[in-house]
């Protein structure tokens, strides 16, 4: 059975894919750093402090998160992963988007031309409901269908 959630569209795009869920803040630099530096074809989460994501594939997934956290290098990090073609398909925020996540995703969109579907304010219930590996459809109007 699927459930529908509604959020605010930041960067609209229709995408479908597999959920990857973190209930703690997503540390953008720590998560992508190793993949960027070693120029891998697929990004694997290297944030040792995030027990839910460490070692999991980020590329092409629908990343479900409360917010991003960590170093302000995040803007350049998201620009780089978009440029390298190893970004997630979408970043779905349960809370209001933070300044680092917003900046990085906007920069990737305008300066790389790579749109990562971005929706925020999906609510705590969204993050409680969604599980790793579930099928997700995200629409341009901010609706997200889980399962």
């Amino acid at each position: 059975m699927s459930r529908v959630f509604k959020g605010r569209t930041i960067l609209p795009r229709h995408v479908e894919g597999e959920a990857l869920v973190t209930h703690s803040g997503f540390n953008t630099l720590a998560s992508f750093y190793k993949s960027i530096l070693t120029r891998t074809e697929t990004a694997i989460c290297s944030d040792q402090d995030n027990k839910e994501l460490y070692g999991k594939r980020l590329t092409g997934r629908i990343l479900c998160l409360p917010k991003t956290i960590g170093s302000t290098s995040a803007g350049a990090t998201l620009d780089a992963v978009a440029f390298m073609g190893i970004a997630p398909k979408a970043m779905l925020f349960s809370q209001r988007i933070d300044s680092l996540g917003a900046a990085g995703l906007v920069i990737a969109d305008i300066w790389v031309g790579e749109r990562i579907c971005t929706i925020d304010q999906l609510g705590d219930e969204f993050l409680e409901y969604v599980k790793d590996g579930q099928r997700i459809v995200a629409n341009e109007d901010g609706t997200v269908i889980v399962g």
């Binding site: 930041i10 960067l11 803040g25 540390n27 630099l29 720590a30 992508f32 750093y33 960027i36 530096l37 070693t38 040792q48 402090d49 409360p66 917010k67 991003t68 956290i69 960590g70 170093s71 302000t72 290098s73 995040a74 803007g75 350049a76 990090t77 998201l78 620009d79 780089a80 992963v81 440029f83 390298m84 209001r96 988007i97 933070d98 300044s99 680092l100 917003a102 900046a103 990085g104 906007v106 920069i107 969109d109 305008i110 300066w111 925020d120």
Partner: protein, 429 residues
Amino acid sequence: MELTKEEKEILEGQKGSVLQKVMKSLVLYGEALGAERLVDIEGPGHFSIPFAIPGVGLRLEMLDELVGAGLSTKYPFTLDPKSPSDFENLFVNEEQKHSIEEMLVNQDAYDKRMLQLGLQDEEAYTCTPYFPEVGNIPNKGTILAWSESSCVVYANSVLGARTNRNAAIMDILSNIAGKTPLAGLLTDEGRRASWRIEVNTTSLPNPQLLGAAIGMKVIEDVPYIKGLDRFLGTEMNDTSRDYLKEMGAACAAIGAVGLYHVEYITPEAVEQGGDLLLPDYRIYPIDDSELESLMESYPIMWADKGAKPQKCLIGCPHLSLRELEWWDRNIHAALRAHGQMRVAVNTVLCAAPQVLKEFMADSERCENLKNVGVRLSGTCIEAYMDNQLCAREAVVTNSNKLRAFTPARMFLDEDLVEIIVTGRIEEED
């Protein structure tokens, strides 16, 4: 978002296509943050983009686009520390040297473009631009668009300036436009605290550990911290400033804190006290056991978990003159206590070029430090660890940020002095 006539003209492309992209970025960013309008930036910038490394700095193509359009920032800016190319201070072997050179192959071109875009001067590289020796010290209330998480939190909390946590690249784009969205930490409401942190420890806690605990709990919220005045007093002096620098850096890198208030110490807390707390604030008490548990929870990320430490890197964030003197004094004292002439672990102390210059004015002191196996550098130890060969070394540090982002092992300052001198980690004995 409501835009002025000039902002609209830029957005429509009347002042060139590159500036149009700059403004489009700012407007989308501002709308995402819920800003009603943009406001003018009122002082010099500080940005976290000194390296020609994708993922940390701007791509060279993007820099060329900005420089090619003749754009530069409204005010001069300072940058995070220089890339790790002062090899004589870093104890690197030939293989590591070549690997770092390869990693930074575009660095000279990058540095040149930064000067063209408004970098203050060729020495303006540090993550402590707010030290008096460096001089990028914003006044209370000044609107800025800074990045580098440790600088943002210091400027907001210790100096009372107003900047959001701007991401790398958005920092320089904002300062080129001379505008930043009026949102978050720029507003009075955004600077109020939603957490009351009660520091109940029996002595002054390690700042990088306390900062990490707070950052992990409050994430990006504003904490109002009680209890530190018992140890730091109420006067803002070099000791308290250094402590708050270290604590803030960990709050910001492990969590996403852009502003904290410390009761009786930081400027807004002195002025407004508990009125800074929002009505529905939450409470997080911190005692000795909470911090001990946190320290014990850190995994060893070295490939060989039982390895002997090979290198010690200190100065993330960069050390103050007082801190440099502390390490100098304590390393020499431990050497005397152990009857040794040299440290067992090659050690690098990092600080701003201007701070190092002041420290090195005492040439005998510097020579003594060099002779015992300790070097001084103006580089960024995190960037050093970005190199995969360097990251394989068994590095010890006192920096929680370095621990979180690299395989380095973190130790408390006093323990680290012993490790530097003896080469042994207590738990292995």
